[in-house]
């Protein structure tokens, strides 16, 4: 995929200063007695990549379908670029790939995009560059029926990019891609956000989300349990200290910061304090004659958050199984 160097998520621009490109309020979908999506409120702004996470069956795809107008919410409201979900004028400015990309198997990749271009009232000239952008220009003439999963994913992204949309809604876009393809996709997504597009990315690839997204929402059993910035999730939440003797170090740190902030696990001490305190901690232990082997900042990973959320909601086995 041909992309430019991506900016770092959470850089100087402030996506939230723009009006929301996607605004969902108390979105609910009920199938019989099953509450698939329960009062989800979220917003995605131009220039940001919003990571939409959750275990299988949590309601991610149902939510994305409601945002696109493919299914009607039981309750709640969606505005996409200021218009209702599924409105033709809004759809014309959205590139979407929901679940596995679906194409006509008897047509070539190129011809599939021609069909989309005609429905979208776009010139056929856009098809070639879209295929090129995802690295399919050499195989565009082949029938989709012979495409691999990764090639179909690429074609799905090409179809989403064809309209040069203001919003991209992508459901597992790296599914089936090789490592190079995944890296290309990451670069592409960050470049698209840098160009001012709003990207809503549903993914199980937590590392990918961590690298690419500015904000994340986590849906568990239909409810949005987390809606925050990646920086906040990863935000340093304390220090990890290795020192000997361990018991003396624990006692010393507990005296200084309080016992509730100190815990030991194996041969390390976890200290819930501002990471800026690392120098103070180091000096404190040395002054007490304790040998310090290292003091590190402890960052929480998205995976930890994911597991914590899914376990807390009773989806432990299901959630853990989805983490790659």
């Amino acid at each position: 995929m041909n992309t430019q160097t991506p900016p770092t998520p959470g850089s100087s621009r402030s996506p939230e200063s723009h009006p929301a490109a996607i605004a969902a309020s108390h979105l609910t979908k009920q199938y019989g007695r099953t509450l698939a999506v329960d009062s989800v409120t979220l917003s995605v702004h131009p220039g940001e990549v919003y990571g939409f996470l959750g275990p299988n069956g949590a309601g991610k795809t149902t939510t994305l379908r409601m945002l696109l107008g493919l299914i009607r919410p039981t309750a709640g409201r969606v505005r996409v670029l200021g218009r209702p979900a599924g409105d033709p004028e809004a759809l014309a400015r959205i590139g979407a790939m929901v679940e596995s990309p679906a194409f006509y198997p008897y047509l070539s990749g190129y011809d599939n995009l021609v069909v989309i271009a005609r429905h979208a009232r776009l010139p056929r000239l856009r098809v070639g560059p879209a295929l090129e952008a995802v690295g399919l220009d050499q195989r565009g003439g082949d029938r989709v029926s012979v495409y691999s999963l990764g090639m179909r994913q690429r074609l799905g992204v090409a179809a989403a990019l064809l309209k040069d949309p203001e919003i991209l809604i992508l459901d597992e876009p790296t599914n089936g891609l090789d490592p190079v393809g995944m890296a290309d996709m990451r670069r592409l997504l960050t470049a698209l956000a840098a160009s001012g597009k709003a990207v809503l990315l549903s993914s199980h690839q937590l590392g990918e989300v961590e690298h690419v997204c500015h904000r994340i929402g986590m849906i568990v059993q239909g409810r949005l349990t987390v809606d925050t910035t990646v920086a906040e999730v990863k935000g340093a939440e304390g220090l990890v200290v290795r020192a000997t003797p361990l018991s003396s170090a624990v006692r010393c740190l507990a005296d200084r910061y309080g016992a509730g902030r100190v815990s030991s696990s194996g041969d390390v001490i976890e200290l819930s304090v501002d990471p800026e305190q690392s120098v103070v901690v180091n000096r404190l232990l040395l002054d007490e004659g304790i040998e310090v082997h290292g003091v590190w900042t402890r960052e929480r990973t998205l995976e930890e958050l994911f597991l914590a959320q899914t376990t807390r909601q009773g989806g432990n086995s299901r959630g853990k199984g989805d983490v790659r």
């Binding site: 107008g69 493919l70 033709p88 759809l91 679906a102 006509y104 008897y106 989309i116 009232r121």
Partner: protein, 269 residues
């Protein structure tokens, strides 16, 4: 128009549909010309032989060409309609179509337009093949080749197209209802070839059925074929040509309205 162009593009490039159309044409030619010609050849009496070949001559081209449209022709075209509309479920491409731009009804009407165009091509080719066959038969009999008037040809082709179009929409509606092709084809063909035939047979002894069959698709399709001179089909003299046109157009409109209602009301998987 751009959506129509997209849907026509899909139909034109779908070899399955053209293979299907090819088989349909071969069958049509077989039933309309080869079968009666061979049967006529078995008659030893010269008068009977000429009488049997009479419907195959050019001046009655429209009647002979559409003679099978109301029964086997329509039954097979149900599959054509079901394939066009129902395959979108199999491939999961409704979601692709409905997230591009056009409204769902626009997509539906584009597909209806593409099916109508394909059937117009099919009927035109059938008329051309039939014309060539009838001309050859006339020459073999050293009979003068007298073509029907343009109005008669257009009436015949129009009636044939309307019959096939309504059946294709019937198949399409079945595909939308059942979210696929197989069940729609099975039920559609069963209705045309079995259930309607059975009910028509019972109509003689059940007064309520006698009134109802006036609105059966097959009966009206047969009546429409008879209105352009066809002596085959399943018209049993119950309705006239004008009634048949009204009922078949009504069915076509009803099938489109119901298809539109289903497509716009349903969540897309």
């Amino acid at each position: 128009m751009t959506s129509y162009a997209a849907e026509w593009f899909k139909v034109v490039r779908r070899r399955t549909l053209w293979a299907f159309a090819g088989i349909w044409l071969v069958l049509a030619f077989g039933f309309e010309y080869i079968d009666p010609y061979v049967k006529a050849g078995a008659l030893h009496d010269a008068g009977q032989h000429l009488a049997a070949l009479r419907p195959l001559l050019p001046d009655v081209l429209p009647a002979q060409t559409v003679s099978g449209y109301s029964l086997w022709g329509g039954a097979l075209i149900i599959a054509f309609g079901a394939l066009v509309f129902g395959s979108e479920y199999g491939w999961g491409t409704w979601k692709t179509l409905f997230t591009i731009r056009p409204r769902r009804l626009t997509v539906l009407m584009a597909q209806v337009g593409a099916v109508g165009t394909a059937l117009a091509v099919l009927v035109a080719v059938d008329f051309l093949v039939s014309a060539a066959a009838s001309a050859l038969i006339a020459r073999s009999l050293t009979a003068p080749v007298q073509w029907p008037g343009v109005v008669s040809l257009l009436r015949g082709a129009g009636a044939g197209w309307l019959i096939l179009f309504a059946y294709a929409l019937f198949g399409g509606l079945g595909a939308l209802v059942t979210r696929g092709t197989a069940l729609a084809i099975g039920l559609g063909v069963t209705w045309v070839l079995v259930i309607e035939t059975l009910l028509r047979g019972l109509a003689g002894s059940v007064p309520l059925l006698r009134a109802l069959i006036k609105f059966f698709p097959g009966v009206n399709a047969g009546a429409l074929a008879a209105a352009v001179g066809s002596r085959g089909g399943i018209n049993i003299g119950i309705v006239g040509g004008a009634h048949a046109v009204a009922v078949i157009v009504g069915y076509a409109v009803l099938f489109i309205v119901l298809s539109g209602w289903i497509l716009t009301r349903r969540d897309v998987p």
